[in-house]
Symmetry: C2
Subunit: 337 residues, 2 copies
Amino acid sequence: MVSTIDSPEYTEDTFISRLLTKVPTPAGEGFAPGDDAAIIELEGVRFLGCADGLIEGVHFDLGTCSPADAGWKSLAVNLSDIAAMGGTPTSALVVLEARLGEADGESAAQAAYEGLGECARSFGVVISGGDVVSADRLALSVTVLGELPAVGEALLRSGARPGDLVCVTGRLGEAAMALATAIPSGTDHPWAERLHRPVPRLEEGRAIAAAGGSAAIDISDGLLLDLSRLCCASGVGARLDTAAVPRPAAAEWQGSGAQRVAPEQLEKAALGGGDDYELCFTIREPLLTRLDELWPEYGADYCVIGEIFEGSGIEGPDGRLDPAGWDHVASGRRSLE
Amino acid sequence: MVSTIDSPEYTEDTFISRLLTKVPTPAGEGFAPGDDAAIIELEGVRFLGCADGLIEGVHFDLGTCSPADAGWKSLAVNLSDIAAMGGTPTSALVVLEARLGEADGESAAQAAYEGLGECARSFGVVISGGDVVSADRLALSVTVLGELPAVGEALLRSGARPGDLVCVTGRLGEAAMALATAIPSGTDHPWAERLHRPVPRLEEGRAIAAAGGSAAIDISDGLLLDLSRLCCASGVGARLDTAAVPRPAAAEWQGSGAQRVAPEQLEKAALGGGDDYELCFTIREPLLTRLDELWPEYGADYCVIGEIFEGSGIEGPDGRLDPAGWDHVASGRRSLE
């Protein structure tokens, strides 16, 4: 039976699959759309390319997010896609929508470019081109191009095999907590920084690729949803030790003087909240020693949170877990409650 | 004196120049933003990249433009930028904004992808990747990558020299006439086809590069504005024989049974209207023979409409001409009256 918009099976992924039947896609193994970044071949050379948009009123609100932060994030989310492939970003093209002809619209656009520029300089990316269009809001559609891993193969979503360990970098759910508790950008709180100025895990991605990691995805839509995408692409299931998933420390939040947060909310944020842009990856257990040798001295740590099994779906300690992350089609709005 | 938003000197180009001071741009000759497409170097190989967005309510209206036409055009305008460099497009990344979760929004998005796919197949381009985001309208931000000319150098805006001839492909102003007279898409009228299904002049661009053309730009914002950009980038002026500029044939319009159009309106459309996506290029007179040999058998013809001189600005038979094309910042709306 074909799923319809109203059925629970109808998700963003279904919608995208249908779109892709209508356009010519690259032939040959490894070129099909479906990974965080595409592998593109031009003049006999292979490289990475990805594109993502950040829209006022959809992804951010200028009441709680400064235009400079929106500019930073519009590039950072794309760099995160390159990181998930183990690659190195080099250049970007930007389509900027702005309220041109209005003083505050134009200054917001200039501020967005300041944030974009900060992010570009931080990660060695140049802005090669793009376009500016008049619109009734601020939006940035960014395409990033980058190099494949210098050591090892590009990390795909489809490489996980039964017996592989499931790992994540850093701590999950802090961006979702900043969103749920409406901490505005510019606030001196680490959660706000996580939401508004995400740091792509580029060095970590390269280390995972060089160590021989089998698959990876960046966590933009929540661990459960993104891990289930990785499992789907690999044709496997994952057993998840939910207690091992690194979550926001409640102390940090109390330290800011705001209301107490229930531990369940922290767990929900860690499992279902997106926007941290950490990496979820799989790797054969014997390769962990090599990964530890290659791991960057600074940056996000990683921890083992589960194991891949032959089958499908995600199993928690108390049974099957439902992907509860962000899905533009199915849910329309992120929900942490 | 620094121009402000209210001053007539403040244009889209000024605004973009300011944006570009805030971000790192590529070093080295030929890499600076400012041409129709950027020359990007990755893994030691040079290629072309460009990005442009098409937004419902700004660039098109679903009342007069079908979503399939919007999809076609979103890719075609980018292919036109590759054509203006003399290149060959190979792959595209697409950020689609759509009213997800609404049946008509989703079917409009699917229809847009049908048109996008038709255009991609027509010109040998594959869709390598992209993203889908939820929004309150249909919009497509497309990035196209392509190869540099196989024969000759990439055509830049900055290569025009005094004595070069100024030429254009095809006929100008037909898209603008379709817009001014509100001919809806799907109508069996050549002007509507020009507006809604523009054909990128890819073979013509390659012929111009191979023949040794000195500079080129695609006419997206009107001949006068785009030619003045080419002149600015080259540090030269252009003498224009306005009577030689190929304009819409009035007969064609009368043939459709609608009201009579004044010849002045046709001239205004040819000089100031954009959206035809023809190429304006410059070339040394002795190279015309070679160009004629290389010119594709089918496709748009070209004609000589002027000459480059040492100086600045555009001179018509009756004195200086004012760029009167589409400018998102300065004019906000296209005007043919």
